[in-house]
Amino acid sequence: MLHPVGTGHYLVLSLALLLVGILGVLTRRNLVIVLMSVELILNAVNINLIAFSKHTGNLAGQVFAIFVITLAVAEAAVGLGLLIALFRNRETTSADEVNLLRW
């Protein structure tokens, strides 16, 4: 049952975490939790990058993982800022009620 853990295990885990994140983004109405699901997706990306960095013995994957984390910070900061502006104007954080530009 317990095979030695290889790169494939990490890739499957990364894919599964990506699916959980996508499910969260698509189904939740609460925008705060949608943003948290985006963090899950970015973490899945990081697991993938680290697994391949280890597999090929090249540290470039780790450098890119740091860039991805930086990106996550910028995304969270601006996304949550948008959420605050939205809440200030509309008194809601529900994705279904933000439909002013919908056609």
Partner: protein, 118 residues
């Protein structure tokens, strides 16, 4: 694989279990006679004025944002500090450019009054 980390991974469950077991055993052993005066604020403490889940002002968020952004900056400075001697003046120049661009943001936020507790 994590050769040097084996003691840490052994220590981790011990560290997690110790408070859990201690609190559980204490709950079994101690006498339990709750009275209203025991649940009140102790000595010079005051009664809470409102629910702790109440709304905060947005100023806390702006401070938190600036903290996190400059936290990221530190993460990039750390590898530079580790390789400071080998990188020499070239590294100093690189980091100076990096910092100069971020200081623009800092000055902008300062001018906008983001640091003032209005």
């Amino acid at each position: 694989m994590p050769d040097g980390y084996l003691p840490i991974f052994v220590f981790l469950p011990v560290a997690i279990l110790f408070p859990v077991v201690t609190l559980f055993v204490a709950k079994l052993v101690r006498p339990s006679q709750p009275t209203p005066s025991k649940l009140g604020a102790y000595e010079c403490g005051i009664e809470p004025a409102s629910n702790s889940r109440g709304r905060y002002t947005v100023r806390y968020y702006i401070v938190a944002i600036l903290f996190v952004v400059f936290d990221v900056e530190t993460v990039f400075l750390y590898p530079w500090a580790v390789r400071y001697k080998q990188l020499g003046w070239f590294g100093v120049a690189e980091v100076a450019v990096f910092l100069a661009i971020l200081i623009v943001g800092y000055v902008w936020a300062y001018k906008k009054g983001a640091f003032e507790w209005v």
